[in-house]
Symmetry: C2
Subunit: 903 residues, 2 copies
Amino acid sequence: MPNKLTYFFGGGTADGNIEMKNLLGGKGAGLAEMTNLGVPVPPGFTITTECCVDYYDGGRKWPKGLDADIKKSMKRLEKAMGRGFGSTKAPLLVSVRSGARASMPGMMDTILNLGLNDETVEGLARESRNPRFAYDSYRRFIQMYSDVVLDISKEKFEHALEQAKKKTGAKSDADLSAETLQKLVKTYKGLVKKHSRHSFPQDPWSQLEGAISAVFLSWNNQRAIDYRRIYNIPAAWGTAVNVQSMVFGNMGDDCATGVAFTRDPSTGENRFYGEYLLNAQGEDVVAGIRTPQPLTKADGGKKSLEAAMPKAYADLVKVYKSLEKQYRDMLDLEFTIQNGTLFMLQSRVGKRTGAAAVRIAVEMAESRLIDRKTAVMRVSPDQLDQLLHPTLDPKAKLDILAKGLPASPGAAAGRVVFNADDAVAWVENGEAVLLTRLETSPEDIHGMEVSKGILTARGGMTSHAAVVARGMGKACVAGCGDIEVDYARKCFTVDGRTVKEGDWITIDGGSGRVVTGKAPTVEPKLDKYFDKLMTWADSCRRLKVRTNADTPEDAVRARKFGAQGIGLCRTEHMFFAEDRLPIVRNMILNMKDKKVREKSLEKLLPMQRHDFLGIFAALEGLPVTIRLLDPPLHEFLPNFTEVTVELEDLRRKGKNKRKIAELESLQAKVQSLHELNPMLGHRGCRLGVTFPELYDMQVRAIMEAACELKRRKVKVQPEIMIPLVGTAEELVLTRRRAIAVAQDVQSKYGVKVKYLVGTMIEVPRAAVCADEIAEHADFFSFGTNDLTQMTFGYSRDDAFKFLPQYVADGILPIDPFISIDQTGVGKLMEMAVQKGRSIKPKLKCGICGEHGGEAASVEFCHTLGLDYVSCSPFRVPLARLAAAQAAVRESTAKVRGSAADTN
Amino acid sequence: MPNKLTYFFGGGTADGNIEMKNLLGGKGAGLAEMTNLGVPVPPGFTITTECCVDYYDGGRKWPKGLDADIKKSMKRLEKAMGRGFGSTKAPLLVSVRSGARASMPGMMDTILNLGLNDETVEGLARESRNPRFAYDSYRRFIQMYSDVVLDISKEKFEHALEQAKKKTGAKSDADLSAETLQKLVKTYKGLVKKHSRHSFPQDPWSQLEGAISAVFLSWNNQRAIDYRRIYNIPAAWGTAVNVQSMVFGNMGDDCATGVAFTRDPSTGENRFYGEYLLNAQGEDVVAGIRTPQPLTKADGGKKSLEAAMPKAYADLVKVYKSLEKQYRDMLDLEFTIQNGTLFMLQSRVGKRTGAAAVRIAVEMAESRLIDRKTAVMRVSPDQLDQLLHPTLDPKAKLDILAKGLPASPGAAAGRVVFNADDAVAWVENGEAVLLTRLETSPEDIHGMEVSKGILTARGGMTSHAAVVARGMGKACVAGCGDIEVDYARKCFTVDGRTVKEGDWITIDGGSGRVVTGKAPTVEPKLDKYFDKLMTWADSCRRLKVRTNADTPEDAVRARKFGAQGIGLCRTEHMFFAEDRLPIVRNMILNMKDKKVREKSLEKLLPMQRHDFLGIFAALEGLPVTIRLLDPPLHEFLPNFTEVTVELEDLRRKGKNKRKIAELESLQAKVQSLHELNPMLGHRGCRLGVTFPELYDMQVRAIMEAACELKRRKVKVQPEIMIPLVGTAEELVLTRRRAIAVAQDVQSKYGVKVKYLVGTMIEVPRAAVCADEIAEHADFFSFGTNDLTQMTFGYSRDDAFKFLPQYVADGILPIDPFISIDQTGVGKLMEMAVQKGRSIKPKLKCGICGEHGGEAASVEFCHTLGLDYVSCSPFRVPLARLAAAQAAVRESTAKVRGSAADTN
């Protein structure tokens, strides 16, 4: 451990600065920066994040030298404050707070007033001439310390506090007298003794040691782990620990504590905004025991800080203005006023809603505080995503039932139903429903269509439910393993609570939360700030953004969001339409009968042509990539167990021989088409090879639609895509037939249409053999869902059984179905692009997996040199922004690189 | 087409020679060689295989110039023979025969006596003064030509022939008079006119053109395609066509035709062996119309050729001896004797049984005709495989019902049963049974164990049935798609024929044939020749050969076959044992209950320890690689549909509430463990990560067994193998725990055991990230079954739906589950070895997939520089031989290379 372990701040200078966030955490770096800027900050020191990492690597032991270093820093602090740690005359009290690289509000632990014991409390009482304050501080300290360090639950102390209030008739904590508080301290110490079998520690140094270790440990409490999983914060970062001398907002009515934002974090409006409490400590604001007052007269009139303590308020305004100018961003500030004097306890870039992020970025750019590229960088793609969907009202109190995967953003409330038919029936009766399933299948589409949102117990971010919901722009929480669905009784249970059919629930597909009842939501608004930011983003990016769309409606919606074509039009969804499924089924059940097969395909041809006519027309000449039939045929047939049960039932009754025979044949067919691993089965171009007429029909429909429009002088750009190619020969074969059909159609229509025939790269072997394949492909489109499945050997429908734990345990940094695994899957993609372009240097390469709408993956695609990404309509703006940010980051890196070169 | 299209032979010299097999086919090269050696061969010429390839590439048109070239060659032939093609005085007749690079006996077409027409037949009759012979030749020609070129079925002509015999009271063809034959020719020509709507072609040139095209086309008849698929002959090779002047064995009683082998093709004994027919043409021998006589007095006494035509026989002996010396191999010869003069029509290396191949190779090496390395190269690994199993008696007449995949060699006869319990019951009653299933699962093991062989309708070469059968050394035909199994009625049907429970059938797992009744089989014998050859092989090879074995019995058997350790010991098979499955099930059904889990593992620990004690002891210090639990847990549970049906039934009856509740809970658990794609599901080290106690128990059992033996001074070399690793972190985690357990056990026993912890490379991502993984692995073992599944995206259990067609259509050169796909999967293996050894240069690498026992794959592993291959016990000799051949081939190539360098 050769590095510096602690960084001091105080007396106008600091060892650290705002650039050292990784080492000092956000809070520590902010305290150092403010100190350097001359802002009043109580002195203290920061224990680096490296110490925390070392703590875990070393089997939960302090790194060597940390103990000595802390002693040294405490000496310096005593000197700066003119007080003594453990002194009974002028006792030095400190706060011990966590502070990670990324803000994780409330997830880790904080201890205030450390240094108090039975003797120093007396000293504090004497010095402050305020025994009430001293004992109030002491009882707060015992309570916090016991909770955080000694693992004694808060409730036990709260209970004693309530009893004291009852006994003395006090309405609030502030009404308790010094004597009552003194007694309460005794009671508290008794509780500690009872539950920990040890007396409350009196030695300030052992208090400090315990508190620091507890903060280290809080990095891995369940809350923090969950938070990191949701926000993709690596477990390896660790947290810093800030030890800071206490200032007191609870010494009397010339004292206060509060939080402030330099702009409105909810709307982004450029106005000072915040809350404070008189005669209180920071935790009171958070705990919500008393209702805080607004800071400004505009918000709070006479009760505002501006009115109550004008001098301190004026100082605060001066500080916030200078800090915002320095940071060039909206800040979140914490302050304490002790006897009329302002102290800043924290300054950090403030969290904000998506809408606020956009407005702040645009307004700061327009006032030249930042440039446009910086503005584009200031809004995270996920925030933009938020903007496009209703969300749970952040102010609402929620009763959270369970948490699943945030599969498709948006908040939606509805009555629970358990199958698609019920969904339709309830909606026809004017009800709003939420379809809840173990998992969805293409047969549920009609139910999903009418539901406000979808909740599934199984499946991941790219499960059927998730993909379809995102396509529809509907809220979806998937893989919610906590709920146990009972179809038979039409209910689900979670932690002993039961939700029945017809009960209201609300889901938030942006966070994965499932909430009881009809929770209040907030509707999205796309304003002028949004438009401006997207224009700036488009001027930065190199990657094109297309959309995945299967219908003209989707296509039109996506174009409104800025899509530059269709990157994936799935034809199988068309096969599931109500008027077609019977034809498709009949064909599959009689696949070996050439006549039936041909007749079925004849019936499907005009329907498919009609689909493509609509889509081509909606795209007005932009490229449309159409994937030929991909899923295994049994997906179009009913479930084997259901058929078997029905059959057994009929047999038992012994009647209806014809129906029995029919079901027997159906059962046999379903069984013969049954696959143990359909994902690796008879699907994709394997269907096209074994039943070539199927692909012929689809190509014919595509080309007839294209020729028809060409005749009508409408521009078309069809791109025929062969799925699941693993060998060059598969492409040779299917492509040859496609070209033959295309030529036939063109000569019949007497027009020429420019079209391409390309392939998906989604089987690992295709990546490995991409050079051979490129010889026969007009384009490559990465199907990263399947590529991820096969490269990892994870079934996206089953991986929910271990993936969450893998991510939580750090085996994987992130769910690879959410963000491309750049180390493994990404290497294969890189190989495919290199090999493909070694044969055709300008080979068009895109991505049409769900990753095309995820920010990190979009950046990766930019880096690989792909031509476009494609994603569901509602993710198009996100992808545009992510593509712009990738380009900006790249150019910044280049500028830095060349600057380094000239040095 | 710049190359020479035809190669002439005759008059003591030939354009070609024996080295030109690829261009001239085996037959053509042999005819050229014999001509060059001065052996009497009727002159002729060979049309190259390139012409055939060109014929297909050009859309079934003759290559440019071929027509002219043939004309030129025919002129040369007329000159050499002093006869004229189409001449009525001395008509030149020719045979037109196929001849591919590899011998494909009887698969393609042959036409004799071409050049005959209504006029030349008269000329021939006059010239030979034998009208009977002339018309017999003509009617044969019409029949053959009509069958092969005009596609008129042979039966029509046979029928007319039979009628003629009846009418004239002739017993055999030879009894028919010239007049009758003349009439028959008329009838034949009438048949041709009727069925082809054209007269039989009279122009010899157009006859020749038709015959040559027909031979080209016969390369792609169904028989030939099937044969190529079975013997892995590429479709791209094409066939040569041999046009040769006719000599006649049917001109009278001083004429004969026959076939001979220079050594006994069945035993390998060094004795001349063959058969002949007096006054006959070659096809009569093949067709078996008359019974041929033996060649030698030793075999046939007075009826032998040696006795009947001593002069011609002496010539034949001289020729065969000189040819064998020249070819340095056992030969298959075809000859015709025309008016007492011997002509050789074919000489090629003869097909032989495995036993014969071994004996011939060893005896030839011992007599210094070839060296030992050559002897090692002379036996194909597949032939060796044959040696180790009983086979169908090649002399028996078989009624072939169907054909599936040759999944595990050996022939076995038994009564058909349709489930494992029935198998056990029948066997207990003293019956021999053949278990027939749609597919097998681990629950069928007890039935498989008692069955003589296994037949499945589904699944490929690495399906459960195939893998287990090979491990047991039992015959298995898998993926026999032609049979329709009806469990309910306990029967299967194929082509309208029904086989019921209890019926006898015989399967040949070496060829995939399913035969009715109890077909005669031949038992294997391992003789001194085998031992000698294997000793020579071992002295050549670099690759070590281990075995896949799960029991001490398997291990002992494999060591007898020469295994140098265990490369894969699957622990899951131990979990299926009858006394354990209930414990395992109970554990799985209560996985979340820590107590049940721990109790179950406690019960399993001594059982597993006992397993390993036995295996370690059997290996006596050789390395034993033990794979920790791999399959998804639901494999240990009953089938969902079956449980559901049983439950519905009970519910309907309404009684037995407790049983209903039990079944409900079982059903729910089975459903919750159900996976859509178990192959990509919660299995392998994913189980070890989520239920670490499972792997802990297994490691403990391994180390306790090892320590126990170490104490008893028995050497042990355990290698703990973590399956399905895809990320380095998975290995880090499981390895860390394994080492902790191992240390604990060692310190408890007070002994040190050298052990390794390594990983399988079977997930594509593991190959891509092999460098990261190698840092934490003591060894790599390629699981090429899974690697093939995931690299191609083929489920080995489902791929039978399209793979056969893929291979037949040439999309894949061979089933990648049989032989490693070197282009795709092999590239990933190469990458893994390189990356792994870039971190640890001496990293031990092996293969434990089923490919480890397949010759081409073994050679590939040798080339990759692996340390060992591992395969099922019965394949160990095969792998040893294949490894030796790979080494010999490599050294030969090096010698050639360095010779080229010095040139």
